[in-house]
Structures are given as structure tokens and as C-alpha cells.
């Protein structure tokens, strides 16, 4: 049994790109199977935290988060030898080695002055050493956020990368049949918990996007007479339109600093990309091409915009300066490319790709090289990045079926539905919450 360290898991992560060199057909077989390939998820024991029901609930949320990342394998609590751990004392390591747990997370929940207080520790079982000991406090109804913060701490300590569990997803909740769909703006935790509606369903909501401070959402509403782009403040619930335009306005997205919104404006059938400074409300035109120009997405440093254009005759990805300068085509492989989204780390651009009768989610480097197709189905669309740039959420729709939210990691190895029971589309992932 190799002793696990941060280094070994990092090595495993570094080995992931090799998996992605498999041809698409081979990759399709391994979806959902997180144990295939040369990465073994790390066996981790997460016994119920002390402190009653809430302790058990918190442990369960942590285990589910880590399991869904594909990098960890939470062990069955029925196999645990040591029971009733006390977070204040060192665990009995041999009893955890016996079940091959490489890491152990235990903790204790208490209520102090009406606030939930959770102490937890992360142990390296084979090194017999404490890796983390932290305490989180919050009001009792926020117990899930504590569980997410602990998940992020464990993930970061063991992978060396920031987590993405204490985040929310804004999306479009769908109801009704095709042709008479009701599409409402909705928000939930990244694991599908705590969903709530933000609009009443009277207009068709599309393409919500988070601002970098997680407090504002920009989205488009389609009504019989036309479309509008709104900015909604989650805290104040105040919403305002960015203005009245002649023609369709759509595809809004914030700049990384939240000060600008890039979007498409259609005039006389032709769509071009504009950017509005939200303070001064001044608008600048970034493209002037008789082609479709839409789906702008800023680079994390704000200096560039990747977008979708059919100026070559079919929809492809292009990158230009944030002022509209030097547009350059990025996508050259066979297929139709749409919905480019720059990763928060700047490492990749994710996109939707259509080949023949299939749709795919894929990633490429910002210079257009190293393209990798991660998914294939009847209709996969609209990727959004987890804030650490390792996981993508997107919409998947079957022929004649409703749309569901799915996630896939950047290697294409871990593909699974989001545990939100309803129909949904157009997800947008928030940054890590504070």
C-alpha cells in the first residue's frame, strides 16, 4: 500500500491528460465509470460527525461532493471498524488502515450562542498525521454551506487545487411540453440542493450568467414582441434592463471585473457584438460583419473576447481584443462550433460542437490547439465552468425529451447528471462564495 501524500494525488492529476488521448469512441465507453483508466479515486473515510442528526447530514454532503468529483471514493460506513470517534483525540489508525482508508475526515457539531459550530480534522491514515484541523461557524440553516466549505478544504489540501463545492448555479428551470415550455430563472447549490425560482414564468428566460462577485446575474428574457437583457441583483432582488434596443438583444455576459456586459444586438437581421459599460451606460460596437456574431466571453484578464461567428460560412470560434481588434479564427476541425466560454483559470476555452447528428461539449487551448471532445449525445449544449476550471456543467436533451443538467470533468472521465430532480437548461456556475 503506497502511502498517499499530496504529491501522489497531484501526480495522478497530472497524468490525466494521457487519458484524453483516447479516440472518441473509446472514451464514450468509460463515461460515468470513475475507476477506469490510470486514475484510482482516493479511498476516504467520512464517518458521521458527532453532534446528532446535523453531524450525519454534514458528513453525507461532504461524501457526496467528493464522490462526484471523481477523485475520491468515500468508503461504506458499514465497513468502519472504529466507531464513535471523538474529534478531539487522534483516531485509531490501524483500524482505518485495515479497511484501506487513505484519508479520514471526522468532526464534531455543536451549537454555541445559537450558531452552528463545526470542528473537523483531515487525517493521513498511513502517515498517521493530521493534515487539517479547522472550525466553521454559521447560522443553523446554513449547515450545507459548512459541509461545502469542509469539502473545499479537503479537496484543496489533497489535490493542491481550489475546490468548487461552496458555489451556486443559476439556470433555467423548465416545465411544460416542447412548444409550450415555461422557462423560469432559478438558482440552486452546485449539488442541486436548495433550488428556488427567481422569475414567475411569464417570460421565457434564457442564458443567465453570474457576475464575478456572485451578487448579480445578467440574463435575457424573450417575450412575443422581442427580447430584453436584464441585470438582477440577488441581494436586493432589484432588476433593471440594460436599455431598449431596436431589434433583438441576446447572449449577455459580464466582463471579469463585472463592470461591463458584452452582448449581441440584431439590426435588420444581422447580429453584431457590443459591449456596455454599466456605470456610464455607454455602448461600443465590437464587430461590424454581415455575419452572425454572438456568444461573447471574456478572457479572465479581460483583454480578449472569444465569440461565435459564421463569417467563414459555418459557425466557428474566433478570438479578438476586448476592443474588437484583430479577430482571428480558432476552430478548424470538422464541425460547427458555438457557445465558447473561457475557463476561469485561462487554461481552456469550452464550447459546443456539432458533428453530423451529434452534439458535443469540448475544450481547446485559447490558441485553438489541443482540442478535446468530452461528451457526445443527441443534444449537449452551453457549457459553464466550475470556478477551479476542472468541471463543466451543461444541458443535455434527448430526442423528444426534456433538458437535464449534467457535469463532466475536463478529462471527460467523470460524466454524470446533476442531482437536481427537475428539467433544467442553461446553467451558469458562480465563483466560490465568500
Amino acid at each position: 500500500m503506497t502511502r498517499f501524500t499530496k504529491r501522489t494525488l497531484l501526480t495522478a492529476l497530472a497524468a490525466l491528460p494521457a487519458v484524453t488521448l483516447l479516440p472518441a469512441a473509446a472514451r464514450a465507453e468509460i463515461e460515468v465509470n470513475v475507476n477506469r483508466g490510470d486514475v484510482q479515486p482516493l479511498p476516504i473515510a467520512i464517518p458521521a460527525f458527532g453532534g446528532g442528526q446535523t453531524g450525519g447530514d454534514i458528513s453525507a454532503v461532504i461524501a457526496a461532493n467528493l464522490q462526484r468529483s471523481g477523485l475520491f471514493r468515500p468508503l461504506d460506513p458499514a465497513s468502519f471498524v472504529e466507531r464513535d470517534l471523538n474529534a478531539a483525540v487522534q483516531p485509531n489508525f490501524p483500524s482505518w488502515k485495515q479497511i484501506n482508508a487513505q484519508a479520514l475526515v471526522n468532526g464534531q457539531v455543536g451549537v454555541v450562542a445559537g450558531r452552528l459550530q463545526v470542528d473537523f480534522r483531515l487525517w493521513d491514515v498511513f502517515a498517521e498525521q493530521q493534515l487539517l484541523g479547522l472550525q466553521f461557524a454559521a447560522s443553523p440553516e446554513n449547515w450545507r454551506r459548512i459541509a461545502h466549505k469542509i469539502s473545499d478544504s479537503v479537496y484543496q489540501r489533497l489535490t493542491g487545487e481550489k475546490g468548487y463545492f461552496d458555489t451556486r448555479v443559476v439556470f433555467v428551470a423548465e416545465s411544460g411540453g416542447r412548444g409550450s415550455k415555461i422557462k423560469r430563472l432559478a438558482i440552486m447549490d452546485q449539488d442541486g440542493a436548495n433550488p428556488s425560482y427567481l422569475t414567475d414564468g411569464s417570460g421565457t428566460i434564457m442564458t443567465p450568467r453570474f457576475s464575478s462577485n456572485s451578487q448579480e446575474i445578467t440574463y435575457m428574457e424573450l417575450r412575443p414582441e422581442g427580447s430584453k437583457i436584464y441585470i438582477l441583483n440577488l441581494e436586493t432582488t432589484r432588476r433593471e434592463t440594460i436599455g431598449d434596443f431596436k431589434g433583438m438583444v441576446f447572449a449577455p455576459r459580464f466582463s471579469p471585473d463585472g463592470g461591463r456586459v458584452a452582448f449581441s444586438v440584431e439590426r435588420g437581421g444581422n447580429s453584431d457584438i457590443f459591449v456596455m459599460d454599466l456605470k456610464s451606460r455607454s455602448t461600443a460596437r465590437l464587430t461590424s460583419d454581415p455575419s452572425i456574431d454572438t456568444s461573447p466571453s471574456f478572457s479572465p484578464d479581460g483583454t480578449k473576447i472569444v465569440f461565435n461567428s459564421d463569417r467563414s460560412g459555418s459557425p466557428q470560434l474566433y478570438v479578438m481584443g476586448a476592443d474588437g481588434s484583430n479577430p482571428k479564427r480558432l476552430s478548424f476541425a470538422a464541425g460547427r462550433y458555438t457557445t465558447p466560454v473561457w475557463s476561469p483559470t485561462g487554461e481552456f476555452i469550452a464550447f459546443t460542437k456539432q458533428t453530423g447528428s451529434e452534439f458535443h461539449i469540448g475544450v481547446m487551448r485559447p490558441d485553438g490547439t489541443d482540442e478535446r471532445v468530452l461528451t457526445s449525445s443527441y443534444l449537449d449544449e452551453g457549457p459553464t465552468w466550475a470556478p477551479n476550471g476542472r468541471v463543466l456543467m451543461f444541458s443535455r436533451e434527448g430526442a423528444g425529451g426534456g433538458s437535464k443538467l449534467w457535469t463532466v470533468d475536463v478529462t471527460g472521465r467523470v460524466l454524470q447528471p446533476v442531482p437536481y430532480p427537475g428539467a433544467g437548461s442553461d446553467p451558469a456556475w458562480s465563483p466560490l462564495l465568500n
Partner: protein, 189 residues
């Protein structure tokens, strides 16, 4: 999203579609029997089929009052179809748009909105742009054939408002369309 005024015409069109498909099947015509626009005289040939559909369901009406929305939908046709990822008006759609233009010139109080629609084999934002092109193509055709520009507005519904909820090529062909919706000024039936 479709206004009550329009939803009625969608239902009517659905019946006509079903009728023309079954006719095509009987005749063993090579597909696609739909939505290829039938030749110039065809639009006025359609209406007799309709009253025979679903007898007893819904009002059995007399002939449409000239200048009414019903007259426009049944006797002229309110929808033209497009090829995949294309927005140019097809040759086989021109006769129907010619008839729309003539009708609109005959009833100058009528205001219309051209709604561009797409099939689901594209992503949302791209399809909003494509639907806008289609709506504009229909508008330009009507204006070029004498309809006052101020009477014709456009909107794109992208792939949000499919008239055919099915999947497959036939449904996609239905859903790639430009719908001429009467907003006001038509005679009441």
C-alpha cells in the same frame, strides 16, 4: 409565449400539416412531402381539407370572412419554411409570400410581425441570430413586393417555439420557419 391570437393558427396549421402528410403517404410521393411549399395554386387548395378533420371538435365554420385573420391563415398561409441553417427565401416559398404581399396590400390597416423560428439542431444563441435573419428575409421580401415597411416588424424566437414537438428531419423542417403573425387591423371573423 405565443399570443392567444397566434396559438389558434398554430393548431389550425397542425391539422393541415397532418392532412398533407397523409395525402403524401398515400400517393407514395418521395419524401420530403413537407414542408416543401406546394406550387402557386396550392395554398387555395388547402382549405377544403380542413373541415373534414376532427368533425365535432371545435366550431364548424363557414368560409373565412375576407380580410380576417382566418382568411389570411387559411386562404393565404401564414408560414414559409427554410432550409437547414439557411435564411434565404426558398423558390417554393415565393408564391406564398407573393400572396401574403397582395393580401396585405388589399387590407392596408393590417399590421404584422414576422417571427423567425429554428429547429433544435443548433445552440440557443446562434439560433436567435439565425431566426432574426429568417424573419428579416421574409420582411424584406414583403417590403420589396410593396408592403409598407412600417407595417412589418420582426422578432426571433430561435428554437424556443417549435410548432412540431417531435424529433427528426420532418419535425425539424416544420420548425425552421418564418411566421407572419397578424397583430392588428384584420377584420373580425
Amino acid at each position: 409565449m405565443v399570443t392567444p391570437r397566434n396559438s389558434g393558427s398554430v393548431v389550425r396549421l397542425g391539422l393541415i400539416v397532418a392532412a398533407s402528410l397523409s395525402v403524401a403517404a398515400c400517393a407514395h410521393k418521395p419524401k420530403p412531402a413537407f414542408p416543401t411549399q406546394t406550387p402557386a395554386e396550392a395554398p387555395v387548395q388547402r382549405p377544403p381539407e380542413r373541415p373534414t378533420q376532427a368533425p365535432g371538435a371545435g366550431p364548424v365554420s363557414t368560409a373565412a370572412l375576407p380580410g380576417s385573420e382566418r382568411d389570411f391563415v387559411i386562404n393565404i398561409g401564414d408560414r414559409v419554411y427554410f432550409d437547414y441553417d439557411k435564411y434565404s427565401v426558398r423558390d417554393d416559398a415565393a408564391p406564398l409570400l407573393d400572396a401574403q404581399a397582395s393580401w396585405l396590400k388589399r387590407y392596408p390597416a393590417v399590421q404584422v410581425r414576422i417571427e423567425g423560428n429554428c429547429d433544435e439542431r443548433g445552440t440557443q444563441e446562434y439560433n436567435l441570430a439565425l431566426g432574426a435573419r429568417r424573419a428579416n428575409a421574409v420582411r424584406e421580401y414583403l417590403v420589396a413586393h410593396g408592403v409598407e415597411a412600417a407595417r412589418v416588424t420582426t422578432v426571433s424566437y430561435g428554437k424556443e417555439k417549435p410548432i412540431d414537438p417531435g424529433a427528426g428531419e420532418a419535425a425539424e423542417a416544420h420548425n425552421r420557419n418564418g411566421h407572419t403573425a397578424i397583430l392588428s387591423g384584420a377584420r373580425m371573423q
